[in-house]
C-alpha cells in the first residue's frame, strides 16, 4: 500500500544521501521524494512517497527515526492529510491545437507559464490523479517535455476530528 511519510531532517550536507541510502540499502521503495528547507533554515522537510505492507512501513518509519539527522517522522497515512504535486508540461501546438490546449489548461485550472509560436509550457498542480488526467489529455497534442515535483503533503489540522469527538461525547 502507498504511504506518504513526512520527515523533518537537519538541513546539512549528506542528509539526503543518508535517507536515500537507507532506502536503497534495505531494499525499500521510493516512489518520489521531495525536499526543501522549512521556515527554520536549520531544518528541511522531506516528503517521501513509498509503498509496502504494514511491517515494511513500520520498519521504514523506525529506520528513518533511527537516523541521527532525522528529527521527526510522521506516516501521514495514519492521519488525514492533503497532498499536492506540480507538473510542468511543454506541449507542441500547431495552429489547430492551440485553442484545444488552452481549453484543457482552463478545465484543469492550470497556467500557461511560457509560450512560443510552436509550444506552450503549462504548469499544473493538484493530486496525482489530476496530473495524470491532464497528461492524458495533452498527450495527443504531443508532449515535448514533462517534469514533476513528486508529492508534498501535510497533515490536516485535527479541527474536524476534534469536532466529531466533541459531538460524540455530547451524544453519550
Amino acid at each position: 500500500m502507498e504511504h506518504i511519510i513526512s520527515v523533518t531532517v537537519e538541513n546539512k550536507f549528506g542528509v539526503l544521501s543518508r535517507v536515500a541510502g537507507l532506502f536503497s540499502g534495505r531494499g525499500f521503495n521510493i516512489e518520489s521524494l521531495s525536499v526543501a528547507p522549512t521556515l527554520d533554515p536549520s531544518m528541511s522537510q522531506m516528503t517521501i512517497v513509498t509503498s509496502g505492507d504494514e511491517r515494511i512501513i513500520e520498519q521504514i518509519v523506525k529506520q528513518l527515526n533511527k537516523l541521527i539527522d532525522v528529527i521527526k517522522v510522521v506516516d501521514l497515512n495514519e492521519t488525514e492529510f492533503v497532498s499536492r504535486e506540480t507538473a510542468i508540461i511543454k506541449v507542441h501546438t500547431k495552429d489547430v491545437d492551440r485553442a484545444e490546449a488552452l481549453r484543457i489548461v482552463d478545465i484543469f485550472r492550470a497556467n500557461v507559464i511560457d509560450s512560443t509560436p510552436t509550444t506552450y509550457t503549462i504548469e499544473v498542480s493538484g493530486d496525482p490523479k489530476k496530473i495524470e488526467a491532464i497528461i492524458n489529455l495533452l498527450q495527443p497534442l504531443g508532449i515535448k517535455e514533462l517534469v514533476r515535483t513528486g508529492r508534498v503533503a501535510v497533515a490536516r489540522e485535527p479541527v474536524r476530528q476534534a469536532a466529531v469527538q466533541a459531538k460524540k461525547i455530547a451524544r453519550e
Partner: protein, 591 residues
C-alpha cells in the same frame, strides 16, 4: 591559547579517557602522529594494516565496555578499515575511528590518496562526520564518542582533513551533548513491563533468549537474578555468551544454527520467549514461519528497529536492558512464589530429557587424530581459573569455542557474529590485551582465518601483547568443507587450503614463540607451556580434517530439526569407504 587541530584531537582523547590508540600513519595524518609522538598520555599501537587497527579497537571496546579508538590515513587507509567498521556496526561495538582526509581545498579533486570517506563509511557506521573547520573539531569529537557509546552502540567515523589538523583554534571541550534527532529510549514503558511480568508469571514453558545487548548494557547481574528468581532456562546467542554463566544449571548454552540441542528445542517448544538484547538473526530463527510456533514473544531492546523486524512481537519494550530488567525484577520479586516452580516442573523435566538425550559430544580416540573439540575443552579446563578473555575468528573453530568454552562472565568473549569476519580474532585479542596487560587473552583460530591478519604478529611482538593463539589446523576452510560435505556432495571447491605455512616457524620469524601439538597425549603439556610464556605464542594443533560441527540446523531449516551427527553416507566416506571404524565406548567424551 590556541591549539592546532592535532593538539585538540589529543586533548579530546584525554578528556574521553582514551589511553590506547590503534593507528597506522600516512601523509595527511602526519601532523597528528607528530603531535602524538611528543606526548605520553595516549599510547600509540602501530598496527601493520588498518583492518587490524579497526579490529583491535573492537576487541578493546568489547573487553572494556568503553569506546575503542583507531586512527587511519586517507584513501587506502580508510578503505582498509571499512571491514572492521562494518563488523562493529553489525555487532554494535562502540568504536570511534578517525580518518585523515586530503586538505579541504582538494576534496573532490581526485587528489593523491583521496577517497570519499563519508560516502564509503555511511552504510557501515552509526554516524560519520567530516570536520571542515578546526573550530568544530572538539565538539565533533565529543559528539562522536557520545553517539558511539550511547543507545545501541556502534562505530562512528570522524574524517579530519590535513589542513584542519594543522590549523589553530581555541580549545574548549563541551561538557554535554545535545542532538535533537538522537534521544535513545533508556527507560522501558512501565505498562509494557507490567504486561511482561504478568506473562512471565503465567508461562508454563518460558525461555530467556539473551544477546549482546545484555553484555553491552552490563545487565548480567540483573539477568542472573531474573533467571534464578523465576527458574527460567537461559539461551544465549553467539554475541550473548558470557552474559549468563555458562556452567550455571539454568544455562542451556548457545542457541541457533550450531546451538545445543536443548537450547533449540526449548526455543521451539516454549510458550513464552523473553528476548533481551537480541535481534532474532536468521542464524537463530532458521525458518521464520516456523520459529517458536507456540510462543508469545516479549522483546526488550534499545533499538526500536530490532523489534518486529523479523519476528512478530507481542510485548515490545524499547529500553536499556539493565534498566528494564531492574524494573521487571522489582515487580517479580513481589509476586513470585512457589507456584511457578510447580507450574514449570513438566517443562524442566522435558528440558532435562533433551539435555540427556543429545548432549554436545565428540569422539576422541586415545591414539587417534586430535579432535578440535578436545583442544577447546582442554584449553577451557586449563584456563578457567584464570578468567581468560577469549577471541575467535570465524568458522568451525568459532562454533566449537562457543560450544565448549563456557564463559562465566561478560566482556570475555570477542567474536565476529553479524558480519562473520575471518581475521577478526587475533587483532581483537590484541586490543583486549592492550586494555588488560596482565590478563590471559586467548585467540582460538583456524588455519584459514589466522592468515587473514597474520601480519599483526609484528604488532603483538613490538607492543608486547602476549596473546596466546591456538590454531585448530585442519588444512581446510573447515566450515566451507562441512557445507560442501553436507550440501554439495563432497566437492571441495576451493575449501582445501592445499598449503599452509609452518606456523611454528612463522611465529619464530616474527620473534614470537611457536609450539606444535604432535599427538593428543601432548596436548595438555604444550598448552601449559604456551600459557606459561610471557610472549605472544602460536600453538599449532593439527586436527582431524573431516570433523564436522554439530548440532546443525541447515540454513532456512526449522529449529527442532537439527542434524546431530554425520549422515551415514558421510561416515562411510570419511572412514575410507566400506568399513566403519568401531566406536570405542570408553573414549567417548561429552561436555
Amino acid at each position: 591559547m590556541k591549539l592546532t587541530g592535532a593538539e585538540i584531537f589529543i586533548e579530546c582523547l584525554k578528556r574521553e579517557g582514551v589511553k590506547t590508540l590503534f593507528a597506522l600513519p600516512g601523509g595527511v595524518v602526519l601532523k597528528i602522529f607528530d603531535t602524538l609522538y611528543q606526548q605520553k598520555d595516549v599510547e600509540v599501537i602501530l598496527t601493520r594494516h588498518e583492518q587490524g587497527a579497526g579490529h583491535m579497537a573492537e576487541g578493546y571496546a568489547k573487553a572494556t565496555g568503553k569506546a575503542g579508538v583507531c586512527l587511519v590515513t586517507s584513501g587506502p587507509g580508510m578503505t582498509n578499515v571499512i571491514t572492521a567498521l562494518a563488523d562493529a556496526y553489525m555487532d554494535s561495538v562502540p568504536v570511534v575511528c578517525f580518518s585523515g582526509q586530503v586538505p579541504t581545498s582538494l576534496i573532490g579533486n581526485d587528489a593523491f590518496q583521496e577517497a570519499d570517506n563519508i560516502g564509503l563509511s555511511r552504510p557501515c557506521t552509526k554516524y560519520n562526520f567530516l570536520v571542515k573547520d578546526v573550530n568544530d573539531l572538539a565538539a565533533t569529537i565529543k559528539e562522536a564518542f557520545y553517539i558511539a557509546t550511547t543507545g545501541r552502540p556502534g562505530p562512528v567515523l570522524v574524517d579530519i582533513p590535513k589542513d584542519v589538523s594543522m590549523a589553530k583554534a581555541d580549545f574548549t571541550y563541551p561538557n554535554s551533548v545535545s542532538i535533537r534527532g538522537y534521544n535513545p529510549t533508556v527507560e522501558g514503558n512501565k505498562w509494557q513491563i507490567k504486561q511482561a511480568a504478568e506473562a512471565i508469571m503465567k508461562a508454563k514453558k518460558p525461555i530467556l533468549y539473551v544477546g549482546g545487548g545484555v553484555v553491552f548494557s552490563g545487565a548480567s547481574q540483573e539477568l542472573l537474578e531474573l533467571a534464578e528468581m523465576t527458574q527460567i532456562p537461559v539461551d544465549m546467542t553467539l554475541m550473548g555468551l558470557g552474559a549468563f554463566p555458562g556452567e550455571h544449571p539454568l544455562s542451556m548454552g548457545m542457541l541457533g544454527m550450531h546451538g545445543t540441542y536443548q537450547a533449540n528445542m526449548a526455543m521451539h517448544y516454549s510458550d513464552l520467549v523473553i528476548a533481551i538484547g537480541a535481534r532474532f538473526d536468521d542464524r537463530v530463527t532458521g525458518k521464520v514461519s516456523e520459529f517458536c510456533p507456540h510462543a508469545k514473544v516479549i522483546h526488550v531492546d534499545i533499538d526500536p528497529t530490532s523489534i518486529r523486524k523479523n519476528i512478530h512481537v507481542d510485548i515490545p519494550i524499547v529500553g536499556d536492558c539493565r534498566t528494564v530488567l531492574r524494573e521487571l525484577n522489582q515487580i517479580l520479586r513481589a509476586t513470585v512464589n512457589g507456584e511457578q516452580k510447580d507450574l514449570r516442573k513438566p517443562w524442566w523435566d522435558q528440558i532435562r530429557d533433551w539435555q540427556q538425550a543429545h548432549p554436545l559430544a565428540y569422539h576422541q580416540e586415545k591414539e587417534g587424530p586430535i579432535k578440535p573439540q578436545q583442544v577447546v575443552k582442554r584449553l577451557y579446563e586449563l584456563t578457567k581459573d584464570r578468567d581468560p578473555i577469549v577471541a575467535t575468528d570465524v568458522g568451525q573453530h568459532q562454533m566449537w569455542a562457543a560450544q565448549y568454552f563456557k564463559l562465566a562472565k561478560p566482556n570475555r568473549w570477542l567474536t565476529s557474529g553479524g558480519l562473520g569476519t575471518m581475521g577478526f580474532g587475533f587483532p581483537a585479542a590484541m586490543g583486549a590485551q592492550a586494555a588488560f596487560r596482565d590478563r590471559l587473552v586467548l585467540c582460538i583460530a583456524g588455519d584459514g582465518s589466522i592468515q587473514m591478519n597474520m601480519q599483526e604478529m609484528a604488532t603483538a611482538v613490538l607492543s608486547k601483547l602476549p596473546v596466546k593463539i591456538i590454531i585448530l589446523n585442519n588444512g581446510f576452510h573447515g566450515m566451507v568443507r562441512q557445507w560442501q560435505d553436507l550440501f554439495y556432495e563432497g566437492r571441495y571447491a576451493s575449501s582445501n587450503l592445499g598449503t599452509t605455512p609452518d606456523f611454528v616457524k612463522l611465529a619464530e620469524a616474527y620473534g614470537a614463540v611457536g609450539l606444535r601439538v604432535k599427538k593428543v597425549g601432548d596436548l595438555d603439556a604444550v598448552l601449559k607451556e604456551a600459557l606459561a610464556t610471557d610472549k605472544p605464542v602460536i600453538v599449532d594443533v593439527p586436527t582431524y580434517p573431516y570433523e564436522n560441527c554439530y548440532p546443525m540446523i541447515p540454513a532456512g531449516g526449522c529449529n527442532h530439526e537439527m542434524i546431530l551427527e554425520d549422515p551415514p553416507e558421510l561416515k562411510m566416506k570419511q572412514s575410507g569407504g566400506d568399513k566403519v571404524t568401531p566406536e570405542d565406548k570408553d573414549t567417548v567424551l561429552t561436555a
